[in-house]
């Protein structure tokens, strides 16, 4: 019963050649999400965290099913048990790390090495889980990256190994070595992020079409560089202000001045953070293609900073009760500033036998079906 329906739906005359926009909207409401948030948080605390896997499913379901693309909501298919398994694994690994960092410091280098070896696996598993259990119009996403690919993406430039080895042999005691490592890491970081995003996007597929990622490390560098300038600028203003006042004023006044001038630094930091979130997000989406789909993300650093700031104030002032409201408005801002464009036909996507939503449940028994994303 495939063919006649498909032809019928896509036989709209206006979409020849010119890309058309699919309507994307977020219909979540703070009132509805508040109830979900409160009930799930309460059950999580009452069950000493075990329910958190169910809570994650409920929240993800809520977000997915209230994002509506071209009239159809997304669907989250994740099940609590694999998530619980993933959380038990994560908690165990973290406890081992935590104990060794506090009590058995001699085994620390081995723990770090094991962590470095596990990192690619964690990335692959969480990407695969997220893709497998995300569906749109009865078709699930897929992720076909493997351990070796992730290993290459993370370690190809030897950055992390250098850091791990450096920590293992306590190069941190040597300030010049540490500074050099830090400098190299800082400079290479944008290219590293770019490789990582490329790995994720190009191995994610929908309806037989793999994502294509065309952002370069240089473009990421620009984002981080501007964020760095913002922080440095705020730092200079703060430094000058404090130095100026400290030279002249009395103690009482300098106390006040210190507080006053730490504000621009804090504001600069928040703004830089928001700037990175916005422009890195734009870069990743705008340079991603999925079959006939293109994305146009227009997040703005200033608007995001304002969002973060007002969220923080609201959450603190309400002792956390406005958290759901903050979450919803942030998601709404993000969806409102995203456009999805189709060049050609959606029939370009072809699902296989295993892509239908029902097939996702078939793999439930698989041991490595764990969710390691946070």
């Amino acid at each position: 019963m495939t063919e006649p329906y498909a032809n019928l739906a896509e036989r709209s005359p206006e979409n020849s050649g010119q890309p058309r926009a699919l309507i994307l909207e977020f219909r979540g409401s703070a009132r509805d999400y508040f109830r979900i948030w409160a009930v799930n948080l309460c059950l999580t605390l009452l069950t000493a965290g075990i329910f958190s896997a169910w809570a994650k499913v409920r929240k993800k379901r809520y977000f997915y099913s209230h994002v509506i693309l071209d009239g159809t909501p997304f669907q989250y298919l994740g099940r609590p048990i694999p998530i619980l398994k993933g959380r038990v694994i994560a908690a165990t690994l973290f406890s081992v790390y935590y104990l060794s960092s506090h009590f058995f410091t001699s085994v620390m280098p081995y723990i770090l090495a094991a962590g470095a070896a596990l990192a690619p696996w964690v990335i692959v598993r969480s990407a695969a889980f997220n893709a497998r259990y995300s569906a749109f119009r009865n078709m699930t996403f897929r992720f076909d990256g493997n351990y070796l690919g992730a290993l290459q993406a993370i370690y190809a430039w030897g950055l992390i190994p250098a850091l791990v080895v450096g920590t293992m042999f306590q190069w941190w005691g040597n300030y010049k070595g540490a500074a050099a490592l830090f400098g190299i890491f800082g400079l290479a970081f944008p290219w590293w992020i770019s490789r990582l995003k490329n790995f994720i996007v190009s191995h994610t597929s929908f309806g037989g079409e793999n994502g294509k990622f065309s952002a370069t490390g240089g473009q990421f560098f620009k984002v981080y560089f501007i964020a760095g300038l913002i922080v440095i600028g705020a730092g200079i203003i703060t430094g000058l202000g404090i130095a100026g006042v400290a030279a002249s004023a009395s103690i009482k006044k300098s106390q006040f001045a210190f507080l006053l001038f730490s504000l621009p630094f804090y504001a600069g930091y928040v703004f830089a953070f928001a700037y990175v979130q916005a422009h890195r997000g734009n870069l990743v989406w705008n340079q991603t293609r999925l079959g006939p789909l293109r994305f146009h993300s227009t997040l703005r650093g200033g608007a995001m900073a304002w969002l973060y700031l007002t969220n923080a104030i609201a959450i603190v002032a309400s002792v956390g009760l406005l958290t759901p409201w903050a979450v919803i408005r942030t998601l709404k801002y993000r969806t409102d500033h995203m456009r999805v464009l189709v060049e050609g036909e959606l029939s370009y996507f072809h699902g296989g036998d295993t892509s239908a939503v029902q097939a996702a449940g078939a793999e439930l028994g698989e041991f490595f079906d764990v969710d390691l994303s946070l």
Partner: protein, 353 residues
């Protein structure tokens, strides 16, 4: 058509292309029928699976042949087989504002009770069961690290002074449960007048601290405080409590953390500093009792604290506001109360500052 017939309007997706087709799902008792644009198909109702209800979102019904039907949420769907039974109850709870408000009340009560009573009590009991030997390796490593990284230098104290202090220290620790684990170290240090209890029972006192003290009793008062930290297992309790706070805070702010940089970190720091202050007060009380047991007056502690606070103000004029300890006055007051305690517990101690 009979009364049991339900008709749902929605979209049909075949799972092969992301294209929806307007369709109608009709079910009457055990029979269901999907009617599409130009054909229809029959199913057994028990083979259909409905996705869980969440908020006001549309629902999905999985068909046995791999197709999917999407429609608005409606009570009629409750009679179909559900994909996830366990979520039904949660979805029901989520529907009611009263349940949500009750949840908030339970969360608040749980957190407050755990923070003020539960966690400190549990940490104290757990710490008491963990042998102090587990901390010793860390303590040793910490001392070596501090020695190697210019924080500590060999002491310049006279051997006589050292012996005198050691003698008093041995007296203080004698008879304590952890007596044999104590080790006293003297060091010259950039950290100024200070004393610290490292994990596992090593207590370090700096030369500046010994110089700041005018009598041996004052030095012993400081050491008694550090002994309190060790004896009350503050290192272990600190680790246990702070990790519990961090884990709970991470759970609570999981939603907010990605939104607001400041929101996640601040409560943790505030919560943890409260515990630290409590440990200080506990160690003080322990010290006062210990001193009195050996016929020393906690007054020595009070005089030393006052002198240190004064000296501190003079040394660091410009940044005094950063290191103002409103606690000092309180600690001095409590020390004096303890000093006079046996005679006049009922009389408020009025002490000019």
């Amino acid at each position: 058509m009979n009364a049991g017939t339900v008709t749902l309007q929605g979209q049909y997706y075949d799972g092969r292309q992301p294209i929806g087709v307007p369709a109608t799902l009709v079910f009457a008792g055990p029979e269901a029928m999907l009617i599409g644009a130009n054909r229809s198909h029959g199913y057994a109702t028990r083979q259909l699976l409905v996705s869980p209800r969440v908020g006001r979102a549309e629902r999905f019904i999985s068909l046995p042949d791999g197709g999917q039907f999407q429609c608005a949420d409606q009570p009629a769907l409750d009679h179909l087989p559900h994909e996830s039974q366990s979520e039904g109850l949660v979805a029901w709870l989520e529907k009611h504002l009263s349940v949500a408000l009750a949840s908030v009340a339970v969360i608040a009560a749980l957190l407050l009770a755990a923070y003020f009573y539960g966690l400190p009590a549990v940490a104290e009991r757990v710490a008491a069961r963990i042998p102090i030997e587990t901390e010793q390796a860390v303590g040793r490593e910490a001392l070596v690290w501090l020695d190697n990284n210019q924080w500590f230098k060999p002491t310049h104290l006279e051997q006589d002074t050292q012996n005198q202090i050691r003698e008093g220290f041995d007296m203080l620790r004698s008879g304590l449960p952890l007596e044999r684990h104590y080790q006293l170290e003297f060091r010259a240090s950039v950290i100024g007048a200070n004393a610290l209890a490292l994990p596992g029972g090593t207590i370090v006192i700096t030369d500046d601290m010994v110089h700041a003290a005018e009598t041996v009793d004052e030095v012993l008062a400081v050491l008694a405080h550090e002994i309190g930290h060790v004896e009350l297992r503050h290192t272990m309790r600190h680790v246990l409590q702070n990790s519990a706070v961090a884990v709970v805070a991470a759970t609570l702010t999981a939603d907010a953390a990605s939104l607001s940089v400041a929101v996640a970190g601040l409560p943790v720091v505030l919560a943890q500093t409260k515990y630290s202050r409590e440990f200080e007060a506990e160690a003080d009380d322990f010290a006062f009792k210990l001193l009195k047991r050996h016929d020393r007056s906690p007054e020595a502690f009070a005089t030393l604290m006052e002198r240190l606070a004064k000296k501190h103000d003079e040394d660091q004029h410009a940044f005094a506001f950063l290191s103002t300890h409103p606690v000092t006055a309180e600690r001095v007051k409590r020390a004096r109360a303890a000093a006079n305690g046996s005679a006049s517990t009922n009389h408020p101690i009025t002490q000019k500052k």
